[in-house]
């Protein structure tokens, strides 16, 4: 199938019968790229079949788990209507909550993280090493380990400030920011270091203060990492279940992860098609963003540790 790409032209040997020449060429082709396609196709099937399955289930008006097994046997939008119109499971509210919580967390994380990274990268002060070490170590201890303490802390904050305690978006955003800043500041710090200091110095000579340098020069030059960190923070908070499930209890306050999990905690009895429709709608924006920006995201993922 890739004959035209094969750069090795067969040496002309008149004595060889045409059939055996063709079989030899096929064999070489097989050894060169053919088997790769075979493996590739197998892995692609493994990778995308659950996604095809959920797509098929979402468009299946039927409802049950068993009914979803005949892939793409029926196509309709009934299950989308069901998930969107069930007052007991306010899917639209979950979606909005997830976007708001993830979006605000991402924006604030990018901003506060960039400020901290700027200070670490461009200034020398006592306690700098200590601060960087803290950031490095904090990455190893995910926030969900302290979920019990977070729950009790937020519950006592909520006793005094109900707007910031349990069952509020603001409270959850504050918690997520605390968890996101360690990892992301370190990631940004690495990227800030790749911007030559001479640019700052030139600006300084021209009379720009540190604020002006930060806002008008540095933030523009590091834009790619800001986008990556924002997306990572958004995706992380979208995927977060533990803290969200503990903090958000009212149905209309839940995020997608919490709400959808409770919807199918027993897949056998759940409205599987409605769940699948919800899953497709929830996943679509994330997948599109990810695929569109995968080059940057992968670069950002490896930049933190691979030097």
């Amino acid at each position: 199938m890739t004959t035209t790409l094969n750069p090795e032209t067969p040496v002309a040997r008149p004595a060889v019968a045409p059939r055996s020449a063709r079989s030899r060429r096929l064999r070489r082709l097989w050894r060169d790229t053919g088997w790769r396609h075979l493996v590739g196709i197998a892995v692609v099937i493994y990778a995308i079949f659950p996604i095809l399955y959920v797509l098929s289930a979402a468009f299946n008006p039927n409802g049950t788990l068993t009914g979803s097994n005949a892939l793409f046997s029926e196509v309709g939008f009934d299950s989308f209507a069901r998930i969107l119109n069930n007052p007991d499971q306010p899917f639209a509210a979950w979606f909005a909550n997830t976007v708001i919580i993830g979006g605000v967390t991402a924006l604030l994380t990018v901003f506060l993280g960039a400020m901290a990274a700027y200070a670490f990268s461009r200034m020398r002060f006592s306690g700098r090493r200590m601060g960087l070490l803290t950031l490095l170590l904090v990455q190893m201890f995910p926030q969900l380990l302290a979920v019990v303490a977070i729950f009790l802390l937020m519950s006592s904050i909520g006793d005094i400030f109900p707007a910031l305690g349990l069952n509020t978006k603001t409270g959850l955003i504050m918690v997520y920011m605390g968890g996101a800043l360690g990892v992301n500041t370190y990631l940004m710090y690495g990227f800030f270091n790749t911007i030559p200091v001479s640019i700052d110095e030139a600006a300084k000579i021209d009379g720009a203060g540190h604020t002006r340098i930060f806002f008008t020069i540095i933030l523009r030059l590091v834009l790619p990492i800001l986008v990556v960190v924002g997306l990572l923070a958004f995706i992380t908070s979208t995927n977060e279940y533990v803290i969200a499930s503990v903090m958000l209890t009212d149905p209309e306050n839940k995020t997608l992860a919490v709400g959808l999990y409770q919807l199918v905690s027993n897949p056998r009895y759940a409205d599987w098609s409605a769940f699948s429709a919800g899953a497709v709608m929830s996943a679509l924006p994330v997948v599109i963003i990810f695929v569109a920006l995968q080059k940057y995201i992968v670069g950002g993922l490896t930049a933190g540790s691979v030097k």
């Binding site: 979920v147 019990v148 977070i150 802390l153 279940y241 992860a257």
Partner: protein, 545 residues
Amino acid sequence: MNTHQPDTEHPDSAAASAPEPERKKSVQLRRMAEQAGGGIGPLILKIVLLGLFDALGVFAVLLIVQAQNWFMLVVVAAIIVFFNWVYLRPGATPAKYLAPGFAFLIIFQLFVVVYTGYIGFTNYGTGHNGSKDQAISSLLASGQERVEDSASYPVTVLQQGDTLGLLVTEADGTVKYGDAEHPLDEVNDAEMDGDTATGRPGFDTLTFADILTVQDTLTELAVPLSDDPNDGSLRTSDGRQAFVYVSNLVYDEEADTLTNTETGVVYTASAEGTFQSENGKNLYPGWNVTVGFDNFAKAIGEESIRGPLLSVTVWTFVFAVISVATTFFLGLFMAIVFNNDRMRGRKMYRALVILPYAFPAFLSAMIWAGLLSKSYGFINQVLFFGAEIPWLTDPMLAKFSVLAVNLWLGFPYMFLVTMGALQSIPDELQEAATVDGARPWQIFRLIKLPLLLVSVTPLLIASFAFNFNNFNIIYMLTGGGPRFEDADANIGATDILISMVYKVAFTGQTRDYGLASVFSILIFIIVTIVTVISFKRTKALEDIN
């Protein structure tokens, strides 16, 4: 601690302050230059934001004083003073950039770790949730019985927000109002219908039909007659007549005892945070107290906890190591397969293969749970022609399923990472080795793999740390099950430490925050050891120096 956001968003407010004072004159000049450059705008912005922050801070302090939470008062006051000091003081520029971010980091990442350590030494949990005062008033409210032959009060049920309260007209015409939290107190603004009060501005009067819808809440409602819980409270079942209910328990503050007036049994406050009778009967709810190493002793000493804890710890390691190994090798294999310039459609393959990574992980786990369902799932019904293979309910198969699904979730990441690392190995190495007569496998094993490992080892360690606490896949796929038969708590064969913490603390009939925190501490210790070892072996720390 939660009000400094407005100010943190705008570090440009620091524009007018000067850099480090090295030489006085030059500092002055520089400050002038900076102000000239920055203009008056940033300065005003800074004043406005800091003012807003302080206003919110003062408001917060007032609320805290009202709630009498002295620890929080100290913390919040310290934060307010610190932020004012940082942003009003000239110089110390780094602090102006670091303070907001680190405030969040310190409270919600570092402090909560310390707090976890503290909770591990308490009996916080079901039956020991609140303070001692809360426990006493709740006990006095729970054992209440109607006072025989007591007068009945005509009442009207009022609602404000979610709170129900009773509007009472006493025999002498005084009108009082109270709810579960606030004892009866005289009100003057009631709307009267004849001699009976029927409403109050700002409150909704519930009609008979309304009352039927809140019947359950209403029968639970007990409005204290006065501040002293021994006086009893008013209760109503029909929303029209209320009667005085008095607890059969009496609290004696000096002796710190509760006495049952019917049986005469005396319950004394114990060191375990409950009122306890002489023959060892406890009254619940109790309150939380520090219990020393009791939770640790329980985790190690009690067979029904130690057994599951041991198997969960072992499985956590097995799960994390195998997950890293399988995802890495499949990812690497795919990278090698696609690492051939003559192969067509590589971009297509690549885009499709990374889809599992782009798909939100929590959804993937739920979808796989449906796929693997024993009697109805796609895998059994279609791929195995209706065989009822217990993928998620047999201990060994469940472990296998968790690993297989995690492989699906994780290999695209490893594929991307190893692909990048492979391409960064110079071709000359391969050419030189070929000239020296090395076979392809030798080239891979002796040259490419070692080089690859150098660059991806930090990522493998990070992946290990991630999988060590990979809550979502476990909880959403198997829920940790199938459950161990010999365990007290709902802990099962695929539970890892973090899902065990979650279950002990937040699911089931009894919540045991103390014991859950002990398990958290165990995870902290393990992760610390892994971190120390890995940091020593990699050179991460050298970058900082």
